[in-house]
């Protein structure tokens, strides 16, 4: 087996004139929790389908567990788990029957299947609900059952495609607990999301925009390296009035704001240098009759960084 569980070089997928995935390269180590953040249509699902051997690769290469998904999909799939955004469960089967169904489909022997059923029911917290029809389980239970079914054959790599869409925050936290428990056992996890806060949970995260991987690093490093400009949080008595003054200053070119936006009772302004601009901004607001309570230099959010990374380079 290779040193890397997933190894992708210049992977490209075109549908006619449309390039869905555009020369993407990355490597994922064994036991790593690796994430992709990107909007609908960025190419997340298309990439996963190519890695699973379900979709032809137009250009470039991919290796999963050392296998070539275009040629060795069958051997590879026995060691790979996949959970799609539409938890593919049978609603008219019970929780236990769903696990059994997937276990049989993966060709598990009777003893192993019995063991896995018990393990998965425990992992998903479904004890006492084994015989509930899946249709009657709430979102969080269904989601954990879907994960259980995806890993019934003890895969070494698991692809999770927006697994937490539409699930409440407590269930989402529990689900991430399960992801890290798997990784701890050496399973490699590749997960996609469009929740900014969830991307923070990955050990490394890639930003995908229009088929291209525009940034890739740990969330902490991304905030340090990829962000153009610094964020000032301005707190005023009348934030609407302050906003009008700052918008005008941006429009006239008086200040080189990358962005000025209302955040509740505060304003966030992105400037090239927070320390240098703090005083002049305060002076401007005061001269326009707006009382400033505080101006603070704050850490960017991952969303700030994402937007900075996908924006065409202004420099």
């Amino acid at each position: 087996m290779d040193e890397y569980t997933i190894e992708v070089n210049d992977l490209t997928k075109r549908f006619g004139d449309f390039t869905a995935v555009d020369h993407v390269s990355f490597r994922v180590k064994q036991g790593e929790v690796y994430g992709w953040l990107g909007p609908n249509g960025a190419g997340k699902t298309t990439t996963i389908r190519m890695l699973l051997g379900l979709l032809k690769i137009t250009e470039g290469s991919a290796r999963v567990l050392g296998y070539d998904p275009t040629k060795e999909a069958k051997t590879m799939q026995a060691q790979v788990g996949y959970m799609s955004q539409l938890f593919t469960l049978y609603n008219d089967l019970t929780a236990r029957e769903n696990i059994r169904f997937y276990g049989l489909a993966y060709g598990l022997a009777r003893d192993e299947l019995r063991r896995r059923q018990a393990e998965i029911l425990e992992m998903a917290g479904l004890e006492g609900r084994e015989d509930t029809l899946t249709a009657n389980l709430s979102g969080g239970w269904k989601q954990r059952l879907a994960l259980g079914c995806a890993i019934v054959h003890r895969p070494k790599v698991v692809f999770l495609d927006e697994p937490t869409a539409g699930v409440d925050p407590i269930s989402r936290r529990e689900f991430w607990g399960l992801i890290y428990a798997m990784a701890k056992k050496g399973v490699t996890v590749m997960v996609t999301t469009h929740y900014m806060d969830e991307a923070e949970l990955c050990q490394r995260v890639g930003f995908l925009s229009q088929g291209r991987l525009v940034a890739l690093d740990s969330p902490t490093r991304l905030k340090q390296v990829e962000m153009r400009g610094q964020v000032l949080e301005i707190d005023c008595a009348d934030s609407e009035a302050a906003m009008r003054v700052l918008q005008a200053a941006k429009a006239s070119g008086q200040f080189p704001f990358d962005e000025v936006a209302l955040y509740g009772a505060q304003i966030h302004a992105v400037v090239p240098d927070a320390e240098a601009f703090r005083q002049p901004i305060e002076a401007l607001l005061t001269s326009e009759g707006v009382n400033v309570n505080t101006i603070e230099w704050i850490a960017p959010t991952l969303e700030d960084v994402f937007i900075s990374a996908v924006k065409p380079d202004a420099n």
């Binding site: 609908n40 979102g139 699930v167 925050p169 991430w176 890290y180 509740g264 994402f306």
Partner: protein, 320 residues
């Protein structure tokens, strides 16, 4: 922003009858939205956000309680409400075979906006939405972000005093989401518009003056984002233990620990005294052979507060 109430509900209850009996979608919700405020109703799917929005608008009849917009009763004054309120439904779809301009005219006609008014307002709104270069494009051929902006422009064509937006940013890319929020910011700063919106994204709470956290049909909290974040007692420590489950169990039992939440491979621990407990946690775990990496104090975000509040409401100390 002033203190006039634009939207008000008092003990609103909404039951739906289903084959298996009655479902309570909204369970005694009382909320007030002041004029000029940006109010965010935040909660997971199925919390009842869409139902209460539709009850307020008069699109669904309420089972019990009172609700009104701008003083007009939701159930009895629907025509007055329709004239003064803009609405974007969650599954809202613009006619895809009409152009941007045709869509604007279509909605203006539906709302009974006169010719002269249309000539004045429509170009203004199209410019506001950043769609001036696309007036001839079919709505079906716009990007997701542009469709949302067009929907917003259409909902404003009759110059409403209040807009109600049901998950307007769902599935939109981060850049478009931010552009959409910038438009809402302009409406608030320049026009003093009252904005009521629903979202499953906790981070959008930061955009609001006032937030309602909704869960299982109830409002769990109802306050400014700053105040809600302070509702969780104690201060928050974050760290990555080398052995997760034993560390979690051990920390939960320790003195001065008020609540433990999991966060991926990290633990979030609310404590009474961060300087002291930080040392104690580190020492206690070290005694079990567990290392703590990157221990630091962080500010609780809306999500930590929400989790803590709904756990308290359902009265369980279970894992999260």
């Amino acid at each position: 922003m002033n203190n006039t109430i634009a939207i008000s509900t008092q003990d609103v209850v909404k039951h739906f009858r289903t084959r298996n009996g009655t479902v309570t979608a909204v369970d005694g919700v009382s909320l007030q939205v002041r004029q000029g405020e940006t109010y965010g109703l935040i909660g997971p799917d199925g919390a009842g956000k869409t139902t209460i929005t539709r009850v307020i608008l008069g699109l669904l009849s309420r089972t019990d309680g009172e609700s009104s917009i701008l003083g007009y009763d939701s159930m009895h004054d629907t025509y007055d409400i329709r004239e003064r309120v803009g609405y974007i439904a969650q599954q809202f779809a613009l006619p895809p075979d009409l152009t941007v301009m045709e869509n604007m005219r279509f909605f203006a006609n539906v709302q009974g906006v006169g010719r002269a008014e249309q000539r004045r307002r429509i170009p203004e709104l199209i410019e506001f939405a950043g769609l001036s270069d696309f007036t001839g494009r079919l709505a079906g051929r716009l990007s997701g972000g542009m469709k949302k902006k067009l929907a917003l422009a259409c909902s404003l064509v009759h110059e409403p005093q209040v807009v109600m937006l049901d998950e307007p940013t769902l599935g939109v890319d981060p850049v478009s989401r931010r552009e959409f929020w910038d438009l809402l910011g302009k409406l608030r700063a320049e026009k003093g518009l009252t904005i009521f919106f629903c979202t499953p994204y906790m981070d959008e709470a930061e955009r609001c003056n006032w937030v309602g956290l909704m869960y299982q049909g109830k409002l769990v909290a109802h306050d400014s984002p700053e105040t809600i974040k302070k509702m969780v007692p104690g201060r928050l420590l974050e760290f990555t233990p080398s052995d997760f489950v034993p560390a979690w169990r051990a920390v939960e039992e320790m003195e001065g620990v008020l609540e433990v939440q999991t966060y991926g491979a990290m633990l979030h621990v609310f404590v009474d005294d961060p300087a002291r407990r930080r040392r104690e946690i580190r020492d206690a775990l070290a005694a079990q052979g567990i290392a703590c990496e990157g221990m630091r104090e962080i500010e609780p975000r809306m999500e930590e507060a929400f989790i803590s509040l709904i756990r308290k409401q359902s009265g369980n100390g279970q894992s999260a």
